[in-house]
Symmetry: C2
Subunit: 216 residues, 2 copies
DNA sequence: TAGGGGATCCCGTTTTTACGGGATGGGGTG
DNA sequence: CACCCCATCCCGTAAAAACGGGATCCCCTA
């Protein structure tokens, strides 16, 4: 019943030679991972990698000489669409992490993680998972929760919400009046009430505030 | 050099008695985890738990009789602000996962995870981490990337971005001119260029589009 | 060196907003 | 049954925005 374990091809991009060699050894020690390709920069990887290489996972450092790892992610994915990218770095600062993940990284581990954690992470990535260092995971959840904060209960009426939504689409009051089947004056009044509730004095402020408060 | 390992108090909320007992045994087998409290529903937990209990981690199932686990998370956090909640369930559907995390869960594991993974997850949560089952992590990253899609490369100049940012704050063109130390006409020109780039014809549309494109 | 883009400035007209100050009818509530 | 809120409608004015159609200067690049 055990399915045949397919051997995964790993590629390393890491400028610290000692660490790179240690990783390579550990990977090749594994019975189902193999690493023939390792580079000290993204440029070296993109220039020298054979076209017929079928790489399953790229282990990518971020602080590299030349092109920065985050910048490299889209380019690597473009050239190797089937390949998963697993970031392995010392950087744990939020902007970097979010940029790397937004750029398409499939996982994010830190060099402080145990080598076994890293090997398991490679397996997870290859199997469609998303290994995250626990501090990184916490950071993401925090960001995630910050995106959906407890709403300060500004309750617009249904008409006001509708009006605001159409304004955000770029319609002018006259067009909104037509769309809602009411007069210009009605829309104008709705907008005045919106201003009062949101404490703003013009459309751009109202739209911005409404979006940020998740009202529309 | 090894710091003294503090024993973590775990509380289980899980309606399947067999599974609950097995978990409890595994936890109490560990040398640094202990579990004196286990309940088959959220109501039982809230009603019976002593006020002086210092619980480090609540292992929470979601599909419970009575109050659903997701609903329970805010209430549990309110009553036990110091306690971390680690979801342990069979549900891996996106809406449930996102709701649970948005509600304040510190981690999300599946019952299909190995018991050692779960025990390690408890440690991680107690230490401020955020253990996520790899499929769950992938789901979150996917959602995350969906929120920040490949940007259609609209590049505003620095001045245009500044202008847009101030407009979103509700300033009028004249005020922006003063703030930037330029004339009204300059701001007006910037705004015209913004309209052309964003393909809109008024401030509200521009502000809305800019926010949605993550330009400001 | 010619050309392009960015930032800056200006004039004038039409359209749209912003807001003060009204009004009416309907639905819900103390 | 008053009272309030919502949705609707109206007038008028001052302010702001939208836009056509210009211009100058500077920096960078083909």
């Amino acid at each position: 019943m055990t399915p045949p374990i397919s051997v995964r091809n790993i590629c390393l991009i890491e400028d610290h030679q000692d660490y790179r060699n240690a990783l390579k050894l550990a990977i090749n020690d594994s019975d189902h991972l193999t690493c023939h390709l390792d580079f000290s920069s993204v440029e070296a990887c993109l220039d020298n990698i054979p076209d017929n290489s079928s790489i399953d996972v790229i282990l990518l450092d971020l602080g590299l000489p030349g092109m920065h790892g985050v910048t490299a992610i889209p380019q690597l994915l473009k050239q190797f669409p089937q390949t998963k990218i697993l970031v392995l770095t010392v950087y744990d600062h939020k902007p970097v992490v979010l940029q790397a993940l937004a750029a398409g990284a499939s996982g994010y581990l830190l060099k402080s993680d145990h080598i076994l954690t890293i090997l398991r992470g490679i397996d997870e990535v290859a199997n469609g998972g998303a290994p995250l260092n626990s501090h990184i995971a916490r950071m993401i959840l925090t960001t995630f929760n910050a995106v959906r904060p407890a709403k300060p209960e500004i309750d617009l009426t249904e008409r006001e919400r509708e009006t605001l939504g159409l304004l955000a689409k770029g319609l002018i009051k006259k067009e909104i009046a037509d769309q809602l089947g009411v007069s210009y004056h009605t829309v104008d009044t709705h907008v005045r009430n919106i201003y009062a509730k949101l404490q703003v004095h013009n459309l751009s402020g109202a739209v911005a505030k409404a979006i940020h408060l998740d009202l529309i």
